[in-house]
């Protein structure tokens, strides 16, 4: 079980404040759905949560202890994983990509990779060069690769954007499994309606503030979610 509290995250680029005192809490098995306009800072927030981007200010609490960014960065990089909207796969085969986060004996790595290939329905593509994969397949390779890292927190940047219905369904069911395994998820999505019905908490990033949209989510009003109250205040 993991619980990480971030308080007062601030981040500016070129004096423009992207994140203004954002509070957010990550916990095992919880899934946060994050939406917001293009350029509102969603990716930046996720990268900070992953320990990849340095915030101008943040208090990070883990297991009742508060950490400085220097210390927290190590822990965050270790425990969490960030998935780009369009994943970056290293040149070479699917197998090589899945092997990347693994260490240890060859035989052990092999069986882990085989399990992950099966899990993401990629067994036939193991030796395929990643240059030949479709968008959906690339996303599944990235998910399987992330899973092999055994993260406790997964930060997914629009994992189902630009996907056909079939690919999206596969990805969604993989995410559901991750959640059930107790991984804390944050998912950036413009279509929260696809994720509905699993007890997710919805958040919205607007003008640097994180808010909770109040209206119930139906297909019609996704684009007009209104912020109402500030989370954690």
């Amino acid at each position: 079980m993991i619980s990480i509290k971030f308080r007062g995250i601030e981040k500016s680029f070129a004096r423009r404040k992207i994140l203004d005192c954002v509070d957010i809490e990550l916990a095992s098995g919880a899934c946060l759905l994050l939406c917001g306009k293009n350029g509102s800072g969603k990716s930046t927030l996720l990268k900070i949560l992953a320990g990849m981007e340095r915030p101008d200010h943040a208090e990070i609490e883990l297991g009742g202890k508060t950490y400085s960014w220097r210390e927290a960065k190590k822990i965050l990089l270790h425990k969490s994983i960030y998935l780009h909207q369009s994943p970056y796969l290293f040149e070479g085969s699917v197998w090589r990509n899945l092997d990347y986060p693994l260490s240890g004996a060859r035989a052990a790595r092999r069986s882990e990779i085989e399990y992950a290939l099966e899990w993401a329905d990629l067994a036939e593509l193991a030796d395929e060069n990643v240059a030949h994969l479709s968008g959906g397949e690339r996303q599944r390779v990235a998910l399987a690769r992330a899973l092999l890292r055994k993260p406790q927190v997964m930060l997914l940047d629009e994992p189902t954007a630009n996907m056909d219905t079939d690919s999206r369904q596969r990805t969604l069911s993989l995410l559901e499994q991750l959640k059930q395994e107790g991984i804390a998820l944050v998912v950036v999505t413009h279509d929260p309606v696809h994720f509905i019905g699993k007890g997710e908490q919805r958040l919205m990033l607007q003008s640097g503030k994180l808010t909770t949209p109040e209206e119930p989510l139906v297909a019609g009003n996704i684009s007009e979610l209104k912020p109402v109250s500030k989370v954690g205040s």
Binding site: M52, L77, I81, H84, Y88, F90, E91, Y100, A131, R149
Partner: protein, 222 residues
């Protein structure tokens, strides 16, 4: 021509010196050049732009001027005169390093720059340590980096200015292909000059062929 080579071990000696000196210079320049290229591509510090422009300017620096600079530094009265390096192979190596580094930096930087930033982020988030993430990026950029290496070698193996001034063209020690050509030609012995010239030409041809191949592969993989 075949006869000429068979008959003349001196030629082979000269070719050997050329390779020994230029290979050493390349190997020593490589880590320095790559490190700077990396810093320029991924670093975030004041003066980065200026440094990039500087190295691009150094690319077209005449070899004689590099030779002159180090000649002054290494000469008896110069600040590094105590090293007693002038007219030795190490002096030639230093001069050639100075010629190779800007090429490695400028071409290496643009090769690394061409790699998506997500590659670095992905490596890090997948748990790669800083050295491992660095190796990963270098592997992704390997074709561009290899092209930089070949181009740097092509430049230093054939340059005459720095070798002449810093090496002094001493037979069996610092006489390499380019300085030998210059000497033989000035003596009117064209046969040797032409033979060595052909060796350089052949090498230039091979290097360029490899460069084409490498760059073609790079495009294919991208």
């Amino acid at each position: 021509m075949q006869l000429l080579f068979a008959a003349d071990p001196e030629l082979w000696g000269i070719i050997g010196i050329s390779f020994k000196v230029s290979m050493s210079a390349l190997l020593l320049a490589l880590p320095i050049g790559l490190l700077i290229a990396f810093g320029l591509a991924y670093g975030n510090f004041i003066g980065r732009r200026f440094l990039i422009t500087s190295f691009n300017t150094l690319l077209s620096f005449p070899a004689v001027v590099v030779g002159l600079t180090f000649y002054i530094l290494l000469s008896r009265q110069g600040p590094l005169g105590e090293w007693r390096l002038l007219f030795t192979q190490p002096a030639m190596i230093i001069g050639q390093m100075a010629l190779a580094i800007p090429i490695l930096v400028a071409m290496g930087h643009s090769a690394l720059q061409a790699i998506d930033r997500r590659a670095w982020e992905t490596a890090r988030t997948l748990g790669a340590s800083l050295p491992r993430a660095t190796m990963t990026i270098m592997r992704e950029a390997r074709f561009g980096l290899l092209a930089a290496l070949l181009a740097a070698f092509g430049r230093i193996i054939s340059e005459v200015g720095a070798s002449m001034m810093l090496g002094g063209n001493i037979l069996h020690y610092t006489r390499n292909i380019p300085t030998a050509i210059a000497l033989e030609t000035s003596k009117g012995e064209f046969a040797q000059g032409v033979a060595l010239g052909l060796v350089l030409l052949l090498m230039a041809f091979t290097l360029n062929g490899m460069l084409q191949l490498v760059q073609g592969k790079g495009r294919l993989a991208a």
